[in-house]
Amino acid sequence: MTTQELATQLQERFDAEQGEPDGLASPGWLSVTVCSDRLLDAIRWLWEDAGYRFLISAGSDLRRERGKYLVTNLFAQDEHGIYLAVHTEVDPEQPSIPSITPIVPAANWTERELRDMIGVVPEGHPDPRRLVLADDWPEDLYPLRWDVEHGIKPPPSDCQVPREPPPEGSSVVPLGPYFPSLEEPAYFRLFVEGEEVVGADYRGFYNHRGIEKMGCSVLTYNQIPFIAERICGICGCVHSTAYCQAVERAAGIEIPERAKYIRTIMLELERMQSHLLWLGIAGHIVGFDTVLMQTWRMREPIMWLSEKLSGNRRVYGGNIIGGVRLDIPTEVHQDVLDMLDKLETEWKALYKSIPGDTSLMARLRGTGVLPHELAVERCVVGPTARGSGVAIDTRLDHPYAAYDRLEFEKCVHDGCDNLSRTLVRLDETLVSIGLIRQALQQMPDGPILTQIDEDIPGGFEGFSGVEAPRGEVVHWVLTGDENRPTRWRPRAPTYANLQVVPPMLKGSQLADAPINIASFDPCFSCTDRMEVVDMRTDDEYD
């Protein structure tokens, strides 16, 4: 079913007008506007009948441009490779919208964020607690509204966010915010009876740094990729690539072939080093420090190589709107290929030794079970989903950069436990090695950056999904006129995966809780979005 048929279907069923037909719409992308009272049945049709997967919803304050708040719900259809945006306009006097969480459970967090950020209240939301803002943030201050100035520090108010009490007979064991097995601050309240976890409650966003506010108030188009790259400590390049592709699609900029291949190579390099890092951390959490040391030893050549290519071990800084900044000259190819061969031999040796290790199997097999239905219902993405038999991979479903020119297949295991998630990541590393080899061969010569002559036109929508090591990263951009986007909505994969952790932890052993959480490879900084305090206002930062 192509985007056009979908558009006509939505037209007759829910009289949804299509977004302004501009030449810039990229192939698998459709944007429709639905009025708020028809929204629920539209979403129900999309979710139940048409088999759409919920991505994220973004609230934007367009009172200056259109005099209304805009709530965008983003969906993805993986078989046909379609991304769909359903816009709903909310008038500022009566800022409320019917909540879609009862239909789509995965939308729980995003709708709570709507209420926090721009003050649009989702009616009928099962758990209307505050999600993103700190406990002591004043009640009526909505940061993402355009009149709220960037970088303000309101006096702390004393409103308390209610915490879920532990069920009868069990006690609370706090896992976080500062805990040895979590690399970043996240707060899991485990309700424990003896050694068995009978419930869990997650309170995150300790690392929220308000990057979206920066994106639409102080940063320009070309400054955002470098800040986007620092959203996550491990998978930076995916965010900058996704942002650049979104803006390029919005502005209709065509990037040169060579830039596409370089972006693909950078993404796969990053995927390899992220999976190696994760396997080390998982080994350490299970108490197997040898795995930590050895995997991080294998990872070191990748870091040296990326340092040689991009000038920095991890934050490549390669992407910019219109192409890439760093080139991969032919003489470097041989170093890359040698590194890949060496890594492949060691990785295959490790791969063969893991299934035979019974004590490691005892900790991984059968623990942290995420059933297939729960994975689909909560729209889980990445290796977490592929570990439970959900065959979604953005590189094949919604091809971008140079992925449509390379042949590779999805690595899917249906064990639904920690082991199958580990095996998915192990397979993916081998696939990445193959991809880089293909990309290096097929890479044409030519420019790596198209010169952009005129300003990026305001009011256009750009959308792009990139397969990060942890899952599908989605960036939605609404271009603005003062050389910066009016609304920029990044969504990291952990944002979707974390919502399924509390139900998954229920029933597991306390000793397994850290490894179950780590098997999702959570990146809490991604979920919270990074911010840098503005130098000019000389705000004190500590």
């Binding site: 007979g169 064991v173 706090p174 707060y187 424990v192």
Partner: protein, 676 residues
């Protein structure tokens, strides 16, 4: 008059006096304490005399029954002297404790408590003193009756009444079995008397002529004593009776009744039964039953969440150790006397230790109940901050029941394990019994860690109206007394072992190896080097309490020196909970989830005790309920007497005392006259 009868008489008068003084609770308590102390002084004098002059024999005129010229010999030999010492120890401490502890059952008047308690002590003396089976059974039954009165003291509480009935039925059934066995023996006794000496010969002949009948008799005796001692299949009444009874009763009974069960077993299986192949079989059975009750009693105790119920399951567990020791003694005597005597001494020493720390633990539970009103492990915690003396005595008792070296529990367990391993060289089954005992001593340690952790350690959280003060002095003194006994017997066990050796040698026929040959001749008899079977190797086991404790204390000073080396400052900080604040209730780790993985894996072994529901017809219930036909009439009589006195112008108290003195004089005259 001989010291034993004086003790019994003093206790009887005490009982009568307290009956009259039941209105003034404290006065009744002091009178009871005074009579117990008087009786104990005479008993101690008696036992010391026995240990110097050998068994004390007199003919008790009191019971000159006209039937067949039956003359009853009162013979107190050294084994009974040891048990006399136990009874004295437990009686003094529990009565002293009960002065203030009985305030808990304010509703009930004490008319039924103190008389019953003193009668109970008197009957236990009787059980220990007589070498005549009939009289022994008579006092045994009297003990059951008085202890029933003590258990069913708070009859208005349904579970107390049910516990009393259960105990009464179980004990009576056991005694009837023993009566049957005695009649069989009596029938085969050519000289038709119940004296132990004659019964010993009849049993000897019986084992050779009619072995089946002999086995039946022994089985009946085993079941009889097993029920009162609380061995596994028969001891089902203990976890029901002790928690329901007032804590003082359970402390007294835990200290005495179960020990008399062991006394009976030793009497029958070592005194009466001549050592032979049969005694090997019966010794192994006793040891097996003991080990079974160790395992099941302690594993079930691990799951309990109520203090008194946990302690009562441990009563079953600890009895197992005593029977294991006695079992080795019975089984191995004809094969290898050195191992057997030491095994028996280990069992008896465990009886003495258990009497001290088991009643101490019950007193601790009583103190906790007195101060906080509950013994639920979850509802109360951190009492260490308000009840230091009780906490220290509880820690000493818990560590010694768990067998931690310098304390008394360790020495007896050491003897039992060591001898069971050495016995295992001849009869392999004993080695496995010893190992199971080791495994379960670790479980005992675990369950008492839980007991201490939930009640005493951690942060203080008790009910609002609970006064933050230690329990009154009259309750802390007996606790410290028993704690001191635990420590002293742990550090200097040899004198106690000497008396135990004399007691054991008394009843064991034939040439008994000398004390030195058994325990080594180190200076001041401090180092217990146990000689093994083949003298080629010499000593097989060694335990030198004084030296090891000295080294331990020296090492502690050394460690303290190291810790002060760096001169580090101390600072108070809240608990680190990873950065977020939590209320205490939220993070309190409840006791039932304490060892949950272990419990779930192991303790399905022994489901909750199947306690039979007793529905008795109205009449029998009324008959068995002492209140209706003894207590209330007596109370009304006493009241009428008192009222008559008060009309005579308020000198009631003085008149009471006159009455008391008159009564004593009359009883004294009767005894004196009868004696000549």
């Amino acid at each position: 008059m001989d010291p034993l009868t004086t003790a019994v008489v003093v206790l009887l008068t005490g009982a009568l006096l307290t009956a009259f003084l039941s209105r003034h609770r404290l006065m009744a308590g002091y009178v009871a304490l005074a009579s117990v102390i008087l009786a104990s002084i005479s008993l101690l004098r008696l036992s010391l005399w026995i240990f110097s002059h050998g068994p004390f024999e007199t003919v008790v005129p009191l019971l000159r029954l006209p039937v067949s010229g039956l003359r009853v010999h009162l013979i107190v030999d050294q084994l009974s002297a040891v048990f006399l010492f136990i009874i004295v120890l437990v009686a003094v401490s529990t009565t002293w404790f009960s002065l203030r502890a009985m305030e808990l059952c304010k509703a009930r008047s004490l008319i039924r408590f103190y008389p019953a308690l003193l009668l109970f002590f008197a009957t236990t003396l009787g059980v220990v003193a007589f070498q005549n089976m009939l009289v022994f059974l008579l006092f045994w039954e009297l003990m059951t009756l008085t202890s029933y009165l003590l258990i069913a003291f708070e009859t208005e509480k349904p579970q107390a009444a049910r516990a009393g009935l259960l105990y009464f039925v179980a004990a009576t059934v056991a005694t009837s079995l023993m009566v049957i066995a005695t009649t069989i023996l009596y029938a085969h006794n050519p000289s038709h008397t119940f004296e132990f000496s004659q019964l010993r010969d009849t049993l000897g002949t019986l084992t050779t002529t009619k072995p089946v009948l002999a086995n039946i008799v022994l089985a009946l005796f085993l079941v009889g004593f097993g029920t009162k001692a609380g061995i596994l299949p028969f001891g089902f009444w203990i976890p029901v009776a002790y928690p329901a009874a007032p804590t003082v009763t359970s402390a007294a009974m835990a200290g005495i009744v179960t020990k008399l069960g062991v006394y009976g077993t030793v009497r029958v299986f070592l005194d009466l039964l001549p050592p032979s192949e049969l005694s090997l079989v019966w010794g192994s059975i006793i040891a097996l039953l003991g080990t079974a009750s160790i395992v099941v009693g302690t594993l079930t105790a691990l799951q309990q969440t109520e203090a008194k119920r946990l302690l009562s399951f441990h009563v079953i567990g600890q009895i197992g150790y005593m029977w294991l020791g006695v079992g080795i003694g019975v089984a191995m005597y004809h094969l290898h006397p050195a191992i057997a005597v030491l095994g028996l001494m280990g069992g008896l020493f465990h009886v003495v230790n258990n009497a001290s720390y088991k009643s101490l633990l019950f007193l601790n539970a009583g103190a906790v109940e007195y101060r906080t009103g509950t013994t639920e492990l979850d509802r109360v915690g951190g009492l260490m901050h308000i009840m230091p003396v009780t906490t220290v005595s509880a820690i000493i008792a818990s560590l010694s029941i768990a067998g931690v070296p310098p304390l008394s529990g360790f020495t007896s367990k050491w003897l039992i394990f060591e001898r069971s391993i050495m016995a295992g060289l001849y009869v392999p089954v004993f080695i496995f019994l010893g190992l199971v005992a080791v495994f379960i001593s670790a479980v005992t340690l675990a369950s008492f860690m839980k007991f201490l952790a939930t009640l005493f350690l951690g942060d203080l959280h008790v009910g609002e109206q609970v006064a933050h003060r230690e329990v009154p002095v009259s309750m802390t003194i007996p606790q410290t007394l028993l704690a001191i006994v635990c420590v002293v017997f742990g550090v200097a066990p040899v004198p106690v072992l000497w008396y135990l050796y004399r007691g054991a040698a008394e009843i064991l026929p034939g040439m008994v190896p000398s004390f030195n040959s058994l325990v080594g001749t180190s200076p001041f008899r401090v180092n217990l080097t146990l000689l093994g079977s083949n003298s080629a190797i010499g000593a097989t086991g060694a335990w030198d309490p004084l030296l090891v404790t000295a080294v331990f204390v020296g090492a502690m000073l050394f460690a303290y020196g190291i810790s002060r080396l760096g001169g580090a400052r101390t600072r108070k900080v809240p608990i680190w909970l990873c950065g977020e604040e939590h209320s205490y209730q939220e993070i309190m780790y409840s006791s039932h989830s304490f060892l949950q993985p272990f419990n779930r894996y192991f303790c399905r072994l022994y489901p909750e005790l199947p306690v039979p529901k007793m529905r008795m017809p109205g009449l029998l219930l009324k008959l068995l309920n002492p209140d209706t036909w003894i207590t209330y009439p007596a109370e009304r009589l006493a009241e009428r007497l008192a009222r008559a006195q008060t009309q005579a112008g308020g000198r009631a108290l003085v008149v009471y005392l006159l009455w008391a003195v008159a009564l004593v004089v009359i009883v004294g005259l009767v005894l004196l006259f009868a004696h000549t």
